[in-house]
C-alpha cells in the first residue's frame, strides 16, 4: 500500500535538500519525500513550476503533504496546486514550522497513517511553547 508523500517547499535549494536528508534519517520505508527548493535557476526564491513538478512526482493514492517556508512559498504552492486540478483533494498544504512539521509527517506517514490523520496530528503539535 502507498504511504503519504511529503513535498518540501523552501526558498533555498539547500534548505529543501538538507531537510530531506534530515527526515530521511528516520528511515521510514516507502515514504517518499520530494524537495522543491529555490528558483528554476537555483537562486533564492520559490517556483510554481518546480512545485508542480514535485507534486506530480509525489502523487499517489495516499496523498501528499506540503510544508513551506516564508513569503512566496505558500502562494506558489497554492498556485501550483490550482494548476493541477486532478490533484485537488489529494494534497494538503500544512501551516507548521517546516522542519518540525515535515519531521512529524514523515514519521507518521511511515506508520501508514492517512493524509487527514497526519495533518490533524501536525496541527495538534505545540511547536512553540
Amino acid at each position: 500500500m502507498n504511504k503519504t508523500a511529503v513535498v518540501i517547499v523552501s526558498h533555498s535549494e539547500k534548505i529543501a535538500e538538507g531537510l530531506n536528508d534530515l527526515v530521511s534519517q528516520t528511515k521510514q520505508p516507502d515514504v517518499h519525500v520530494f524537495s522543491a527548493g529555490g528558483t528554476e535557476d537555483g537562486e533564492i526564491g520559490t517556483s510554481a513550476d518546480n512545485i508542480q513538478h514535485a507534486l506530480q512526482q509525489a502523487d499517489n493514492e495516499a496523498g501528499t503533504l506540503v510544508f513551506y517556508d516564508i513569503g512566496s512559498a505558500l502562494m506558489n504552492a497554492e498556485l501550483a496546486l490550482d494548476m493541477l486540478p486532478d490533484l485537488k483533494g489529494k494534497v494538503e498544504i500544512v501551516n507548521a514550522p517546516i522542519v518540525e512539521g515535515a519531521y512529524v509527517a514523515v514519521v507518521e506517514a511511515g506508520m501508514g497513517k492517512s493524509l487527514e490523520d497526519i495533518t490533524a496530528s501536525v496541527r495538534r503539535q505545540q511547536f512553540v511553547e
Binding site: 537562486e43 526564491g45 510554481a48 513550476d49 513569503g71 512566496s72
Partner: protein
C-alpha cells in the same frame, strides 16, 4: 472606449519598457523594506512575457494575457510572480475568445484580477501592497469612462499614498512601524503597469 488586441499588446510592451527603465529604482524601494530584488524580478518577467508575445501570434485577448500570466508565473520569482501571474490569469478567463473589449468587459477582467490578488495574497486594501493601487484603479474604471490622463493620475496618487501606510503583508510587515515612510515597491510596479495602460490607450486615440 474600445480596447483592441493591439492596445493590449502595446500595454504589455510599454509595461516592459517601464519595468526595464525603473528596474534599479524598484529594487531600491524593495531594499528598504524587503529583499531588494523586485525591480530585477519584474524586469526579467516582463521581458520574457513580451518576447513571448512577439514570437506568438495570439489571436484573442484572453490567450494573449494568459500567455503573459504563465510567463510571469515562471519567470518573475519572489512573491510578485504568483501575485501578478494570478491577476493576469484571472483576467484572461474573463477575456477568453475576445479580440476587443468594451469598458465593461475590461472592468470584469480587472475585478477578477483584484479578487485573485486578494485570495492569493490573503490581503485586503490598506496594508501597503499592490492592492492599494489595483483597488482604487478598479474603482475609478468602474465609475468613469476611462480617460488616459486620469487613469495614470489615479494610479500615481494611490501609489504615493502607500508611503504613509504600515505594512501588513509580506516581508515588509516584519519591519512594522519602520515600514512607514517608504513607498511600497509592489504598489510602484503596479503604478507603472497602469501608466503603461494609459499610454497604450493614448496612442490608440492619437
Amino acid at each position: 472606449m474600445e480596447l483592441t488586441l493591439n492596445v493590449m499588446k502595446r500595454w504589455l510592451v510599454t509595461a516592459d519598457e517601464k519595468m526595464q527603465n525603473h528596474k534599479e529604482y524598484l529594487s531600491e524601494l524593495d531594499q528598504a523594506i524587503g529583499d531588494g530584488d523586485h525591480g530585477h524580478n519584474m524586469a526579467r518577467g516582463f521581458q520574457a512575457a513580451v518576447e513571448n508575445v512577439k514570437e506568438n501570434t495570439e489571436e484573442d485577448i484572453g490567450s494573449l494575457i494568459k500567455a503573459a500570466a504563465m510567463t510571469l508565473i515562471s519567470k518573475v520569482g519572489g512573491a510578485s510572480g504568483p501575485l501578478y501571474g494570478t491577476a493576469f490569469l484571472k483576467a484572461s478567463d474573463e477575456w477568453k475568445g475576445k479580440d476587443s473589449l468594451s469598458q465593461d468587459e475590461f472592468t470584469k477582467g480587472l475585478e477578477a484580477a483584484v479578487e485573485g490578488i486578494k485570495t492569493r495574497g490573503k490581503a485586503e486594501s490598506g496594508g501597503k501592497t499592490m492592492l492599494d493601487v489595483w483597488t482604487p484603479v478598479l474603482e475609478y474604471i468602474q465609475h468613469h469612462d476611462i480617460a488616459a490622463s486620469d487613469l495614470s493620475a489615479k494610479a500615481k496618487e494611490s501609489m504615493q499614498q502607500t508611503e504613509n501606510m504600515k505594512a501588513e503583508k509580506g516581508r515588509a510587515s516584519y519591519y512594522g512601524e519602520e515600514s512607514i515612510s517608504h513607498t511600497d515597491p509592489g504598489a510602484y510596479s503596479s503604478y507603472l503597469l497602469f501608466e503603461a495602460l494609459a499610454e497604450a490607450l493614448d496612442k490608440e486615440e492619437a
